[in-house]
Symmetry: C2
Subunit: 254 residues, 2 copies
Protein backbone atom coordinates (compact mmCIF):
# COMPACT_ATOMS: atom_id res chain seq x y z
CA UNK A 1 0.00 0.00 0.00
CA UNK A 2 1.39 3.39 -0.92
CA UNK A 3 0.76 6.37 1.30
CA UNK A 4 0.42 8.67 -1.71
CA UNK A 5 2.14 12.06 -1.87
CA UNK A 6 5.43 12.90 -0.27
CA UNK A 7 6.66 10.93 2.69
CA UNK A 8 7.93 12.42 5.91
CA UNK A 9 9.36 11.37 9.24
CA UNK A 10 8.46 12.95 12.58
CA UNK A 11 10.28 11.90 15.76
CA UNK A 12 7.72 12.66 18.43
CA UNK A 13 7.74 12.80 22.21
CA UNK A 14 4.65 11.40 23.95
CA UNK A 15 5.56 12.92 27.32
CA UNK A 16 6.10 10.85 30.47
CA UNK A 17 2.74 9.04 30.56
CA UNK A 18 -0.28 11.23 31.24
CA UNK A 19 -2.13 11.82 27.95
CA UNK A 20 -2.80 15.41 29.06
CA UNK A 21 0.94 16.03 28.59
CA UNK A 22 0.95 15.06 24.89
CA UNK A 23 1.25 18.26 22.84
CA UNK A 24 -1.36 19.05 20.16
CA UNK A 25 1.52 19.12 17.64
CA UNK A 26 2.25 15.44 18.34
CA UNK A 27 -1.44 14.52 18.32
CA UNK A 28 -1.81 16.19 14.89
CA UNK A 29 1.22 14.32 13.48
CA UNK A 30 -0.20 11.00 14.72
CA UNK A 31 -3.51 11.91 13.07
CA UNK A 32 -1.81 12.33 9.68
CA UNK A 33 0.54 9.36 9.95
CA UNK A 34 0.36 6.14 7.94
CA UNK A 35 2.94 4.39 10.14
CA UNK A 36 3.99 4.54 13.79
CA UNK A 37 7.34 3.02 14.75
CA UNK A 38 8.71 2.55 18.25
CA UNK A 39 9.46 0.53 21.35
CA UNK A 40 6.47 -1.68 22.25
CA UNK A 41 5.05 0.22 25.28
CA UNK A 42 5.24 3.58 23.49
CA UNK A 43 3.52 2.32 20.31
CA UNK A 44 0.78 0.89 22.56
CA UNK A 45 0.05 4.42 23.77
CA UNK A 46 -1.10 5.33 20.22
CA UNK A 47 -4.79 4.72 19.51
CA UNK A 48 -5.19 2.25 16.60
CA UNK A 49 -7.26 3.35 13.63
CA UNK A 50 -7.95 2.15 10.07
CA UNK A 51 -5.06 2.98 7.75
CA UNK A 52 -2.49 3.32 10.54
CA UNK A 53 0.24 0.67 10.66
CA UNK A 54 1.76 0.11 14.06
CA UNK A 55 5.34 -1.24 14.06
CA UNK A 56 6.44 -2.34 17.53
CA UNK A 57 10.03 -3.26 18.25
CA UNK A 58 11.98 -4.37 21.28
CA UNK A 59 14.25 -2.21 23.41
CA UNK A 60 17.93 -1.84 22.40
CA UNK A 61 17.03 -2.04 18.72
CA UNK A 62 17.10 1.71 18.21
CA UNK A 63 19.28 1.81 15.09
CA UNK A 64 17.33 -0.92 13.24
CA UNK A 65 14.11 0.84 14.18
CA UNK A 66 15.46 4.19 12.97
CA UNK A 67 16.55 2.68 9.62
CA UNK A 68 13.16 1.06 9.20
CA UNK A 69 11.42 4.39 9.81
CA UNK A 70 13.70 6.24 7.35
CA UNK A 71 13.14 3.58 4.69
CA UNK A 72 9.36 3.82 5.12
CA UNK A 73 9.47 7.62 4.76
CA UNK A 74 11.66 7.25 1.64
CA UNK A 75 8.89 5.05 0.17
CA UNK A 76 6.50 7.97 0.54
CA UNK A 77 4.91 7.03 3.84
CA UNK A 78 4.11 9.44 6.66
CA UNK A 79 5.98 8.03 9.63
CA UNK A 80 5.98 8.95 13.31
CA UNK A 81 8.73 7.48 15.49
CA UNK A 82 7.41 7.62 19.04
CA UNK A 83 9.51 8.13 22.19
CA UNK A 84 8.35 8.73 25.71
CA UNK A 85 9.15 12.13 27.18
CA UNK A 86 11.07 14.31 24.74
CA UNK A 87 12.60 12.49 21.76
CA UNK A 88 15.84 14.52 21.99
CA UNK A 89 16.60 13.58 25.61
CA UNK A 90 18.04 10.05 25.89
CA UNK A 91 15.53 8.85 23.31
CA UNK A 92 15.04 8.18 19.60
CA UNK A 93 16.04 11.44 17.87
CA UNK A 94 19.80 10.82 18.11
CA UNK A 95 19.35 7.24 16.90
CA UNK A 96 17.44 8.50 13.85
CA UNK A 97 20.23 10.95 13.02
CA UNK A 98 22.91 8.27 13.51
CA UNK A 99 21.01 6.06 11.04
CA UNK A 100 20.54 9.00 8.69
CA UNK A 101 24.25 9.88 8.68
CA UNK A 102 25.28 6.28 7.93
CA UNK A 103 22.38 5.53 5.61
CA UNK A 104 21.35 6.00 1.98
CA UNK A 105 22.40 9.47 0.70
CA UNK A 106 18.86 10.15 -0.59
CA UNK A 107 17.52 9.94 2.98
CA UNK A 108 19.10 13.35 3.64
CA UNK A 109 16.54 14.95 1.32
CA UNK A 110 13.64 13.64 3.43
CA UNK A 111 11.33 15.93 5.38
CA UNK A 112 12.46 15.08 8.94
CA UNK A 113 11.14 16.89 12.00
CA UNK A 114 11.65 16.40 15.71
CA UNK A 115 8.55 17.24 17.79
CA UNK A 116 9.53 18.15 21.35
CA UNK A 117 7.74 16.83 24.41
CA UNK A 118 7.67 17.06 28.19
CA UNK A 119 10.71 15.08 29.28
CA UNK A 120 10.47 13.02 32.48
CA UNK A 121 12.70 15.33 34.54
CA UNK A 122 10.38 18.30 33.95
CA UNK A 123 7.30 16.34 35.03
CA UNK A 124 9.13 14.89 38.04
CA UNK A 125 10.38 18.33 39.05
CA UNK A 126 6.90 19.85 38.64
CA UNK A 127 5.30 17.17 40.80
CA UNK A 128 7.97 17.63 43.51
CA UNK A 129 7.90 21.46 43.42
CA UNK A 130 10.67 23.24 41.50
CA UNK A 131 13.96 21.49 42.30
CA UNK A 132 15.41 22.42 38.87
CA UNK A 133 14.65 26.12 39.38
CA UNK A 134 18.33 27.07 39.08
CA UNK A 135 21.16 25.76 36.85
CA UNK A 136 20.98 21.99 36.42
CA UNK A 137 22.24 19.02 34.44
CA UNK A 138 20.81 15.76 33.10
CA UNK A 139 22.91 12.59 33.17
CA UNK A 140 22.02 9.16 31.83
CA UNK A 141 23.44 6.73 34.40
CA UNK A 142 23.20 3.75 32.08
CA UNK A 143 26.63 2.55 31.06
CA UNK A 144 25.38 0.64 28.02
CA UNK A 145 26.59 3.41 25.75
CA UNK A 146 29.48 5.03 27.62
CA UNK A 147 32.25 3.99 30.00
CA UNK A 148 31.47 4.12 33.71
CA UNK A 149 34.60 6.24 34.31
CA UNK A 150 33.04 9.04 32.23
CA UNK A 151 29.84 8.88 34.27
CA UNK A 152 31.81 9.16 37.53
CA UNK A 153 33.86 12.06 36.22
CA UNK A 154 30.74 13.92 35.09
CA UNK A 155 29.00 13.34 38.41
CA UNK A 156 31.97 14.70 40.32
CA UNK A 157 32.35 17.81 38.15
CA UNK A 158 28.58 18.42 38.20
CA UNK A 159 28.56 18.25 42.00
CA UNK A 160 31.56 20.60 42.16
CA UNK A 161 29.71 23.01 39.84
CA UNK A 162 26.79 22.84 42.32
CA UNK A 163 24.25 21.94 39.64
CA UNK A 164 20.91 20.45 40.56
CA UNK A 165 20.88 17.10 38.74
CA UNK A 166 18.48 14.73 37.04
CA UNK A 167 19.53 11.10 36.62
CA UNK A 168 17.85 9.08 33.89
CA UNK A 169 18.07 5.26 34.01
CA UNK A 170 19.59 5.17 37.50
CA UNK A 171 19.40 1.38 37.81
CA UNK A 172 20.01 -0.71 34.75
CA UNK A 173 19.34 -4.44 34.91
CA UNK A 174 22.80 -5.22 33.60
CA UNK A 175 24.69 -3.10 36.16
CA UNK A 176 22.56 -2.56 39.27
CA UNK A 177 25.59 -1.50 41.37
CA UNK A 178 26.14 1.61 39.21
CA UNK A 179 23.67 3.74 41.13
CA UNK A 180 25.28 2.84 44.46
CA UNK A 181 28.60 4.06 43.06
CA UNK A 182 26.91 7.25 41.85
CA UNK A 183 25.61 7.93 45.37
CA UNK A 184 29.13 7.32 46.71
CA UNK A 185 30.54 9.92 44.30
CA UNK A 186 27.93 12.45 45.44
CA UNK A 187 28.78 11.76 49.09
CA UNK A 188 32.41 12.70 48.47
CA UNK A 189 31.37 16.21 47.31
CA UNK A 190 27.93 17.03 48.78
CA UNK A 191 26.85 17.51 52.39
CA UNK A 192 24.78 14.69 54.02
CA UNK A 193 21.63 16.83 54.04
CA UNK A 194 21.63 17.32 50.25
CA UNK A 195 18.06 16.70 48.99
CA UNK A 196 17.44 13.61 46.84
CA UNK A 197 14.07 12.97 45.15
CA UNK A 198 13.07 9.54 43.89
CA UNK A 199 10.29 10.02 41.34
CA UNK A 200 8.82 6.70 40.21
CA UNK A 201 6.37 6.21 37.33
CA UNK A 202 5.93 9.97 36.99
CA UNK A 203 2.66 11.18 35.49
CA UNK A 204 1.08 7.73 35.64
CA UNK A 205 -1.48 6.35 38.13
CA UNK A 206 1.41 4.59 39.95
CA UNK A 207 3.40 7.79 40.56
CA UNK A 208 5.36 7.83 43.83
CA UNK A 209 7.61 10.67 44.93
CA UNK A 210 9.93 10.28 47.90
CA UNK A 211 12.18 13.02 49.31
CA UNK A 212 15.19 12.06 51.47
CA UNK A 213 18.52 13.58 52.50
CA UNK A 214 21.55 12.13 50.68
CA UNK A 215 22.59 10.40 53.93
CA UNK A 216 19.41 8.30 53.75
CA UNK A 217 19.37 7.65 49.98
CA UNK A 218 19.68 3.93 49.19
CA UNK A 219 20.17 2.28 45.79
CA UNK A 220 17.04 0.14 46.20
CA UNK A 221 14.90 3.31 46.32
CA UNK A 222 15.32 3.46 42.53
CA UNK A 223 14.18 0.95 39.94
CA UNK A 224 13.93 0.99 36.14
CA UNK A 225 10.92 3.35 36.25
CA UNK A 226 12.54 5.89 38.59
CA UNK A 227 13.99 9.27 37.75
CA UNK A 228 16.26 10.69 40.45
CA UNK A 229 16.64 14.40 41.12
CA UNK A 230 19.38 15.81 43.34
CA UNK A 231 19.19 19.36 44.63
CA UNK A 232 21.96 21.93 44.55
CA UNK A 233 23.45 23.20 47.83
CA UNK A 234 20.70 25.86 47.96
CA UNK A 235 17.71 23.55 47.43
CA UNK A 236 15.06 23.89 50.15
CA UNK A 237 12.17 21.86 51.51
CA UNK A 238 8.88 23.44 52.56
CA UNK A 239 7.20 21.23 55.13
CA UNK A 240 3.40 21.02 55.10
CA UNK A 241 0.62 18.45 55.51
CA UNK A 242 1.28 15.59 53.13
CA UNK A 243 4.28 15.61 50.84
CA UNK A 244 6.75 18.46 51.26
CA UNK A 245 7.50 20.88 48.42
CA UNK A 246 11.09 20.99 47.19
CA UNK A 247 12.47 23.98 45.33
CA UNK A 248 15.72 25.60 44.32
CA UNK A 249 15.66 29.39 44.75
CA UNK A 250 16.39 31.59 41.75
CA UNK A 251 19.18 33.47 43.54
CA UNK A 252 22.60 32.58 44.82
CA UNK A 253 24.19 35.32 46.88
CA UNK A 254 27.77 36.37 46.30
Amino acid sequence: MSAGGKGWLAVAGLGPGDERLVTPEVTAALGEATDVVGYIPYVRRVAPRAGLNLHESDNREEIDRARHALALAAEGRRVVVVSSGDPGVFAMASAVFEALEDGAPEWRALDIRVLPGVTAMLAAAAHAGAPLGHDFCAINLSDNLKPWELIERRLKLAAEADFAMAFYNPRSKSRPEGFERALDVLRTVCEPGRIVIFARAVATPEEEIRVVPLSEARPEMADMRTLVLVGSSTTRVIAREGRPLVYTPRSVSA
Copy 2:
Protein backbone atom coordinates in the same frame (compact mmCIF):
# COMPACT_ATOMS: atom_id res chain seq x y z
CA MET B 1 -16.73 38.73 43.26
CA SER B 2 -16.03 35.37 44.89
CA ALA B 3 -14.97 32.38 42.82
CA GLY B 4 -17.03 30.04 44.99
CA GLY B 5 -15.68 26.70 46.20
CA LYS B 6 -12.11 26.00 47.11
CA GLY B 7 -9.32 28.05 45.61
CA TRP B 8 -6.24 26.65 43.97
CA LEU B 9 -3.04 27.81 42.32
CA ALA B 10 -1.51 26.26 39.21
CA VAL B 11 1.88 27.42 37.92
CA ALA B 12 1.66 26.61 34.24
CA GLY B 13 4.12 26.52 31.35
CA LEU B 14 2.82 27.83 28.01
CA GLY B 15 5.73 26.39 26.04
CA PRO B 16 8.09 28.52 23.93
CA GLY B 17 5.52 30.21 21.69
CA ASP B 18 3.72 27.91 19.25
CA GLU B 19 0.22 27.21 20.61
CA ARG B 20 0.54 23.59 19.38
CA LEU B 21 3.13 23.12 22.14
CA VAL B 22 0.72 24.05 24.97
CA THR B 23 -0.25 20.84 26.78
CA PRO B 24 -3.93 19.90 27.17
CA GLU B 25 -3.34 19.91 30.95
CA VAL B 26 -2.47 23.62 30.82
CA THR B 27 -5.35 24.39 28.45
CA ALA B 28 -7.75 22.66 30.87
CA ALA B 29 -6.43 24.62 33.87
CA LEU B 30 -6.85 27.90 31.97
CA GLY B 31 -10.40 26.83 31.12
CA GLU B 32 -11.26 26.43 34.82
CA ALA B 33 -9.41 29.50 36.08
CA THR B 34 -10.95 32.67 37.46
CA ASP B 35 -7.62 34.55 37.40
CA VAL B 36 -4.49 34.51 35.29
CA VAL B 37 -1.37 36.16 36.68
CA GLY B 38 1.92 36.76 34.88
CA TYR B 39 4.41 38.83 32.96
CA ILE B 40 2.62 40.95 30.32
CA PRO B 41 3.56 39.05 27.11
CA TYR B 42 2.67 35.67 28.64
CA VAL B 43 -0.73 36.82 29.95
CA ARG B 44 -1.44 38.16 26.45
CA ARG B 45 -1.10 34.61 25.09
CA VAL B 46 -4.22 33.62 27.09
CA ALA B 47 -7.54 34.07 25.26
CA PRO B 48 -9.79 36.48 27.21
CA ARG B 49 -13.24 35.25 28.18
CA ALA B 50 -16.09 36.39 30.42
CA GLY B 51 -15.35 35.64 34.07
CA LEU B 52 -11.58 35.43 33.59
CA ASN B 53 -9.52 38.17 35.22
CA LEU B 54 -6.18 38.84 33.58
CA HIS B 55 -3.50 40.32 35.88
CA GLU B 56 -0.48 41.54 33.92
CA SER B 57 2.70 42.60 35.65
CA ASP B 58 6.09 43.82 34.57
CA ASN B 59 9.27 41.79 34.43
CA ARG B 60 11.47 41.54 37.57
CA GLU B 61 8.39 41.64 39.81
CA GLU B 62 8.28 37.90 40.29
CA ILE B 63 7.94 37.84 44.07
CA ASP B 64 5.16 40.45 44.21
CA ARG B 65 3.37 38.59 41.43
CA ALA B 66 3.75 35.28 43.28
CA ARG B 67 2.38 36.78 46.52
CA HIS B 68 -0.56 38.26 44.66
CA ALA B 69 -1.36 34.87 43.11
CA LEU B 70 -1.13 33.08 46.47
CA ALA B 71 -3.36 35.69 48.12
CA LEU B 72 -5.98 35.29 45.37
CA ALA B 73 -5.97 31.50 45.76
CA ALA B 74 -6.30 31.91 49.56
CA GLU B 75 -9.45 33.99 48.89
CA GLY B 76 -10.96 30.97 47.11
CA ARG B 77 -10.08 31.89 43.54
CA ARG B 78 -8.78 29.50 40.87
CA VAL B 79 -5.49 31.03 39.81
CA VAL B 80 -3.10 30.16 36.99
CA VAL B 81 0.36 31.77 37.07
CA VAL B 82 1.63 31.64 33.50
CA SER B 83 5.27 31.26 32.45
CA SER B 84 6.68 30.68 29.01
CA GLY B 85 8.38 27.33 28.44
CA ASP B 86 8.37 25.17 31.56
CA PRO B 87 7.54 27.00 34.81
CA GLY B 88 10.23 25.11 36.74
CA VAL B 89 13.12 26.12 34.44
CA PHE B 90 14.27 29.71 35.11
CA ALA B 91 10.64 30.78 35.46
CA MET B 92 7.85 31.38 37.98
CA ALA B 93 7.64 28.12 39.98
CA SER B 94 10.65 28.89 42.21
CA ALA B 95 9.38 32.44 42.79
CA VAL B 96 6.01 31.06 43.94
CA PHE B 97 7.71 28.71 46.41
CA GLU B 98 9.96 31.49 47.70
CA ALA B 99 6.84 33.59 48.33
CA LEU B 100 5.08 30.60 49.88
CA GLU B 101 7.94 29.86 52.29
CA ASP B 102 8.11 33.48 53.47
CA GLY B 103 4.37 34.08 53.38
CA ALA B 104 1.28 33.53 55.50
CA PRO B 105 1.38 30.09 57.22
CA GLU B 106 -2.12 29.26 55.93
CA TRP B 107 -0.86 29.47 52.34
CA ARG B 108 0.90 26.13 52.89
CA ALA B 109 -2.48 24.40 53.04
CA LEU B 110 -3.40 25.62 49.56
CA ASP B 111 -3.83 23.28 46.60
CA ILE B 112 -0.71 24.23 44.59
CA ARG B 113 0.31 22.42 41.42
CA VAL B 114 3.08 22.97 38.89
CA LEU B 115 2.06 22.05 35.32
CA PRO B 116 5.14 21.23 33.23
CA GLY B 117 5.68 22.52 29.72
CA VAL B 118 8.07 22.35 26.78
CA THR B 119 11.02 24.46 27.88
CA ALA B 120 12.83 26.54 25.23
CA MET B 121 15.93 24.36 25.11
CA LEU B 122 13.90 21.29 24.12
CA ALA B 123 12.15 23.14 21.28
CA ALA B 124 15.43 24.71 20.13
CA ALA B 125 17.16 21.32 20.21
CA ALA B 126 14.30 19.67 18.31
CA HIS B 127 14.36 22.31 15.60
CA ALA B 128 18.16 21.99 15.24
CA GLY B 129 18.20 18.16 15.33
CA ALA B 130 19.15 16.46 18.58
CA PRO B 131 22.13 18.34 20.07
CA LEU B 132 21.05 17.43 23.64
CA GLY B 133 20.94 13.70 22.81
CA HIS B 134 23.60 12.91 25.40
CA ASP B 135 24.30 14.29 28.92
CA PHE B 136 23.74 18.04 29.08
CA CYS B 137 23.32 21.03 31.38
CA ALA B 138 21.23 24.21 31.44
CA ILE B 139 22.76 27.47 32.69
CA ASN B 140 21.09 30.83 33.10
CA LEU B 141 23.73 33.35 32.01
CA SER B 142 21.94 36.29 33.60
CA ASP B 143 23.87 37.60 36.56
CA ASN B 144 20.90 39.43 38.05
CA LEU B 145 20.48 36.67 40.61
CA LYS B 146 23.93 35.19 41.05
CA PRO B 147 27.55 36.37 41.00
CA TRP B 148 29.33 36.27 37.66
CA GLU B 149 32.19 34.27 39.24
CA LEU B 150 29.78 31.38 39.87
CA ILE B 151 28.64 31.46 36.24
CA GLU B 152 32.24 31.29 35.00
CA ARG B 153 33.09 28.47 37.37
CA ARG B 154 30.05 26.46 36.27
CA LEU B 155 30.83 27.02 32.60
CA LYS B 156 34.38 25.82 33.05
CA LEU B 157 33.39 22.69 35.00
CA ALA B 158 30.56 21.93 32.55
CA ALA B 159 32.98 22.15 29.62
CA GLU B 160 35.47 19.92 31.46
CA ALA B 161 32.66 17.42 32.09
CA ASP B 162 32.00 17.51 28.31
CA PHE B 163 28.31 18.26 28.72
CA ALA B 164 26.28 19.63 25.85
CA MET B 165 24.96 22.95 27.18
CA ALA B 166 21.95 25.20 26.91
CA PHE B 167 22.32 28.87 27.85
CA TYR B 168 19.21 30.79 28.84
CA ASN B 169 19.32 34.61 28.83
CA PRO B 170 22.73 34.81 27.13
CA ARG B 171 22.62 38.60 26.74
CA SER B 172 21.05 40.65 29.43
CA LYS B 173 20.49 44.34 28.83
CA SER B 174 22.27 45.23 32.06
CA ARG B 175 25.44 43.23 31.34
CA PRO B 176 25.83 42.67 27.58
CA GLU B 177 29.53 41.77 27.93
CA GLY B 178 28.69 38.64 29.98
CA PHE B 179 28.12 36.44 26.95
CA GLU B 180 31.44 37.44 25.42
CA ARG B 181 33.15 36.36 28.63
CA ALA B 182 31.20 33.07 28.53
CA LEU B 183 32.48 32.39 25.00
CA ASP B 184 36.01 33.16 26.22
CA VAL B 185 35.66 30.59 29.01
CA LEU B 186 34.48 27.98 26.50
CA ARG B 187 37.44 28.73 24.25
CA THR B 188 39.87 27.93 27.06
CA VAL B 189 38.47 24.37 27.33
CA CYS B 190 36.81 23.43 24.01
CA GLU B 191 38.31 22.96 20.53
CA PRO B 192 37.65 25.73 17.93
CA GLY B 193 35.34 23.47 15.91
CA ARG B 194 32.92 22.94 18.83
CA ILE B 195 29.36 23.39 17.50
CA VAL B 196 27.39 26.42 18.71
CA ILE B 197 23.71 26.91 17.83
CA PHE B 198 21.99 30.29 18.11
CA ALA B 199 18.24 29.66 18.28
CA ARG B 200 16.28 32.89 18.16
CA ALA B 201 12.53 33.26 18.78
CA VAL B 202 12.12 29.48 18.82
CA ALA B 203 8.69 28.13 17.89
CA THR B 204 7.45 31.51 16.71
CA PRO B 205 7.04 32.84 13.14
CA GLU B 206 10.34 34.73 13.58
CA GLU B 207 12.37 31.62 14.42
CA GLU B 208 15.98 31.70 13.17
CA ILE B 209 18.53 28.97 13.82
CA ARG B 210 22.19 29.47 13.04
CA VAL B 211 24.92 26.84 13.42
CA VAL B 212 28.56 27.95 13.70
CA PRO B 213 31.85 26.58 15.07
CA LEU B 214 32.95 28.11 18.38
CA SER B 215 35.74 29.93 16.53
CA GLU B 216 33.12 31.91 14.60
CA ALA B 217 30.65 32.50 17.47
CA ARG B 218 30.24 36.22 18.22
CA PRO B 219 28.36 37.84 21.12
CA GLU B 220 26.15 39.86 18.77
CA MET B 221 24.72 36.61 17.33
CA ALA B 222 22.60 36.42 20.52
CA ASP B 223 19.98 38.86 21.73
CA MET B 224 17.35 38.74 24.49
CA ARG B 225 15.21 36.27 22.51
CA THR B 226 18.05 33.85 21.78
CA LEU B 227 18.74 30.51 23.40
CA VAL B 228 22.28 29.22 22.81
CA LEU B 229 23.13 25.53 22.59
CA VAL B 230 26.71 24.26 22.67
CA GLY B 231 27.52 20.72 21.61
CA SER B 232 29.71 18.26 23.49
CA SER B 233 33.01 17.10 21.94
CA THR B 234 31.08 14.33 20.13
CA THR B 235 28.35 16.51 18.57
CA ARG B 236 28.09 16.10 14.79
CA VAL B 237 26.67 18.04 11.87
CA ILE B 238 24.88 16.34 8.97
CA ALA B 239 25.16 18.51 5.89
CA ARG B 240 22.22 18.58 3.47
CA GLU B 241 20.28 21.05 1.32
CA GLY B 242 19.17 23.91 3.53
CA ARG B 243 19.98 23.98 7.22
CA PRO B 244 22.24 21.22 8.53
CA LEU B 245 21.08 18.80 11.22
CA VAL B 246 23.04 18.80 14.48
CA TYR B 247 23.00 15.84 16.82
CA THR B 248 24.92 14.35 19.71
CA PRO B 249 25.28 10.57 19.40
CA ARG B 250 24.00 8.34 22.19
CA SER B 251 27.36 6.61 22.64
CA VAL B 252 30.77 7.66 23.85
CA SER B 253 33.41 4.97 23.33
CA ALA B 254 35.82 4.03 26.08
